[in-house]
């Protein structure tokens, strides 16, 4: 499946923080075909550093999509049956308008003059895209981590426009620990002199060291003690004994450095700041804590999935969502999948997840046909 990222332009989008972005562009990919009734569309919402390239092989780079193990012919999101859409989030750096985009007012990249955005703003832009594609009601919105937040936001903001949502390894509001890790990442970027108040585009010298360290911290939170022990243990990197210096001794150090340096190649540091801020602001209840209010009118079906070893988005956060949905008599399925992969499980440990998603989508599609 060779795929290409497309783009849609809109005149403007009004943001939750009060600002208006003019114009705004969104990068997206689609897989499979929209049926005649326009009833088989699924929106995949990506995690923090993901992009629109969720599945298939990119025609230019040859790279597989970030959820290619879940999306495709015969897979969980079966493109023989469903029309699957994935778009890059607002504030991102992979084709959708973000801080690295040119500000038409100045002719220069926005940098830190880009308005602060929220998960709700990201979802609003997705809704504009879905409307543009002529889809009145999505069969499903599904995503993990920050993608799960967007799925929840869809169910809350546009319940009439989505038949079911699949929030995976996520939360209904960012916790102190999640905010804390994001803040470490942001401080790491801003402490790098090359960040330069967010103005590094013109001299083409991004805060690579700060961004790489932020990514290293991130990677630790995506794994689990067990998965790190299995993958690295105390193995040394291409040496028999300690170097007695501060070069790379351990495999795990090498891995994190590699991941950090790779990340700098594909991700914009200012996007990192803006998107983590959007995650931290995320609270489906707008601070009231009354989650039931967010799902007041729901006849949307929910499949909530968490993973036992995910300590970044622990299972209890998913269970809180499930409990509230029970309280409002919502239609909710929930499973806490056994995995050692930590938060990364929704990307890598997809066997059982596939079983759940396939059955859930199939039954929702049958309900849709009956209705």
């Amino acid at each position: 499946m060779i795929v290409e990222t497309k783009s849609a332009q809109f005149d403007s989008i009004a943001l939750e923080g009060g600002a208006t972005l003019t114009p705004v562009e969104v990068a997206y990919e689609t897989y499979g075909a929209l049926n005649h009734e326009r009833s088989n569309a699924i929106l995949i919402t990506h995690a923090f550093t993901g992009d629109a390239h969720a599945a298939g092989v990119a025609h230019d780079s040859g790279k597989p999509g970030w959820w290619d193990n879940m999306i495709g012919p015969g897979k969980a999101f079966d493109t023989d049956r469903y029309f699957v859409i994935c778009s890059n989030v607002l504030g991102g750096c992979r084709g959708t308008t973000g801080p690295a985009s040119l500000n038409p007012a100045t002719g220069k990249p926005y940098g830190m003059s880009f308005p602060v955005i929220t998960i709700r703003d990201m979802v609003r832009l997705q809704k504009m895209l879905i409307d543009r594609l002529g889809i009145a009601r999505l069969l499903c919105v599904a995503g993990g981590s920050m993608g799960g937040m967007q799925a929840l936001e869809w169910a809350s903001s546009y319940p009439e426009a989505v038949r079911c949502v699949i929030p995976i390894a996520t939360t209904w509001r960012h916790s102190a620990q999640q905010i804390a890790f994001n803040e470490v990442g942001r401080q790491s970027i801003m402490a790098d002199p090359d960040w330069n108040g967010g103005e590094y585009y013109e001299n083409n010298k991004p805060p690579a060291r700060g961004l790489a360290v932020a990514r290293m911290v991130g990677h630790i939170t995506y794994m689990s003690d067990e998965s790190m022990r299995e993958k690295f243990g105390r193995k040394l990197r291409e040496k028999e004994k300690f170097g007695f210096d501060f070069g790379v001794d351990f495999e795990v150090e090498s891995y994190l450095r590699y991941r950090g340096s790779q990340f700098v190649e594909r991700f914009d540091a200012n996007s990192y700041l803006y998107i983590t801020k959007a995650e931290d602001y995320f609270d489906l209840t707008n601070g009231t804590g009354r989650l039931a209010d967010a799902f007041r009118t729901v006849d949307t079906r929910f499949l909530v999935i968490s993973f036992t070893s995910d300590w970044l988005y622990p299972s209890y956060q998913s269970q809180e969502i499930v409990r509230v949905l029970r309280r409002v008599n919502g239609d909710v399925a929930y499973c806490d999948l056994q995995s050692n992969y930590g938060h990364d499980a929704f990307l890598v440990d997809v066997g059982e997840q596939t079983e759940l998603v396939r059955g859930f989508l199939d039954s929702t599609a049958r309900i849709a046909v009956a209705a």
């Binding site: 499930v322 409990r323 008599n329 399925a333 499973c335 059955g359 859930f360 199939d362 039954s363």
Partner: protein, 208 residues
Amino acid sequence: MTDPAPIHQGIHPVTLTRRPDFYVIGEIIPPGSRVLDLGCGEGELLAWLAEHKNVLARGVEINGAQVRKAIAKGVSAYQGDIDEGLADYPDKAFDYVILSQTLQETRAPLQVLREMLRVGRRAIVSFPNFGHWRVRAAMLFNGQAPKTDLFPYDWYNSPNIHFLSINDFEDLCREHGFPIEKRYFLAGSTRITSFPNLLGQTAVFLLG
């Protein structure tokens, strides 16, 4: 009421042999009901009810592998504990709350029954009868914790933590004012009417 497809056409025969009470439950529940199945296992009963009686089906199951299979069947099941989970539901959220062959496994059966009748307009409770003659005989002649078709476990690995007979359950309902609307007694998958506490292997009570 139109007669739905016989339940044996929709559920795997092995399951029905193991769970003859499904026949009765399938007959009790009218089309279009809102149904909560506590300890729904792999969701076979709920899937059947959803397909043949168009019920709004929800299930609770503590076993992760079974929840997975239930969800894969399209049943809205969630992984959780019966003893704790019911508290979240509003009053009379369901027409029927089912507790099939699970009462003897709950930590606080009385509380579960009360909650079932709060959350549901009616409750359906089925359980294996500890008063069955084979159980009595096993105890009498062997002098050991009974191990029979109905109670196939060794004492140390049994999920059953309470043992009750049909008479015990009738007493409980009387003492606590749980109104019994109907009672069904099964030997294998055959309905019986005489000497239920001696001959009945499985009891199904409709409360409410």
